[in-house]
């Protein structure tokens, strides 16, 4: 992205798009287990507070990727993203709903966690990244798995982690 535009409305529009895309990449990296992409949305000196984890981006990404890989699958859905830009600093309230399928005492369960990221973004050398992220949880709900339909419908295209997922096969998608 170019240097900040002197018109603050235009600069805000361009900046909010960049920040929105970074928030999407964060969630994508969690669902596809892509630690390098996950780490890339944070500045090196960023801070995070997830309650059960507080610390810098290297530790957070290692913690989160390690925790998520023990799940069978995840789907982090973003909702309204209110991003406000003040020069080279931005502030965000990002709603999310996260699905986690995991095994507990041999039984598959679904944990839904819904909350908001309270973020501070910083622009350095024209690039927006997360400088701080706190995860607030608004509600959570655990239920026994209930997707026999999925098991009985083998011809669906299923999501995977990492390179096996079609979203990571752009060259293939280009020629389909």
């Amino acid at each position: 992205m170019a240097a900040p535009h002197p018109d603050p409305r235009l600069d805000s529009l361009l900046s909010r798009q960049e920040i929105y895309d970074q928030c999407c990449r964060y969630l994508r990296a969690q669902d596809r287990l892509m630690p390098a992409l996950h780490r890339s949305v944070f500045w090196d000196d960023a801070t995070t507070d997830y309650g059960f984890y507080k610390g810098g981006p290297d530790g957070f990404v290692a913690f989160a990727q390690n925790a998520l890989k023990d799940h069978l699958s995840n789907h982090h859905m973003m909702g309204q993203a209110l991003i406000e830009v003040e020069g080279d600093v931005g502030f965000g309230e990002i709603y999310f709903q996260a699905f986690h399928r995991f095994v507990d005492d041999g039984a598959e369960k679904d944990l839904f966690v819904s909350g908001r990221y309270i973020d501070r973004y910083e622009r350095r050398d024209g690039v927006w990244k997360i400088a701080h992220r706190t995860e607030l949880v608004d509600w959570a709900r655990t239920e026994p798995a209930a997707d026999d339909w999925l098991k009985n419908t083998p011809d669906v295209v299923i999501g995977y982690r990492g390179d096996a997922d079609l979203s990571n096969q752009r060259e293939k998608v280009r020629t389909l």
Partner: protein, 182 residues
């Protein structure tokens, strides 16, 4: 507004393209949930192909068949979340998260089916308009329970304006909706 550099104009065009693409993706949800075939057909190029997991089909044929099938359900609601778009000139690819709610008749009463997935789209810009040229649907999770819907009891007794399909849904009384493009 002050003079824009070439780089700023390129950035601005990218934001506008992403906004237009996001509106196409959102109009898809309207077409599906309102069983509005006219709206749905503005989402895909006529030669587009779809694969929702059961094979590749022409998008127009798929749209006609799907609207017919959706009318057999009591209601649906498709919500899109994160939309990550990659632009390459007149082409784009997009990964769009979706929660899809369906209430439908099961063998022993009404069921609620919720499906979480992602649309992996290839879009093309033709004659100034973005539409989907190829769509692949990937399912990530689903839940299926006996319906818990209530309509006339408790707090719901005061919520009398219910969603429906075209043209009964209140949407179609709104100025500017028209019934096709947003």
């Amino acid at each position: 507004m002050s003079q824009l550099s070439d780089a700023e104009i390129a950035d601005l065009r990218a934001v506008i393209a992403k906004q237009k693409i996001t509106e196409v993706l959102t109009r898809y949800c309207r077409g599906i949930d309102r069983c509005d075939l006219d709206a749905l057909l503005t989402v895909f190029w006529a030669d587009a192909e779809t694969d929702y997991g059961s094979g590749r089909r022409n998008a127009v044929d798929w749209s006609v068949a799907t609207v017919g099938a959706l009318k057999g359900m009591h209601r649906t609601q498709h919500s899109i979340g994160n939309v990550l778009i990659h632009l390459e000139g007149e082409r784009a690819s997009a990964e769009t998260y979706c929660h899809a709610y369906h209430e439908l008749d099961g063998p022993a009463g009404r069921l609620e089916m919720v499906v979480g997935g992602r649309y992996l789209d290839r879009l093309e810009h033709r004659d100034g308009e973005w539409r989907i040229a190829e769509r692949i649907y990937v399912m990530d999770w689903n839940r299926n329970i006996d319906s818990t819907c209530q309509w006339d009891e408790g707090i719901y007794a005061t919520l009398k304006t219910l969603g429906s399909r075209k043209p009964e849904d209140p949407l179609y009384g709104m100025r500017g909706v028209g019934g096709t493009a947003s």
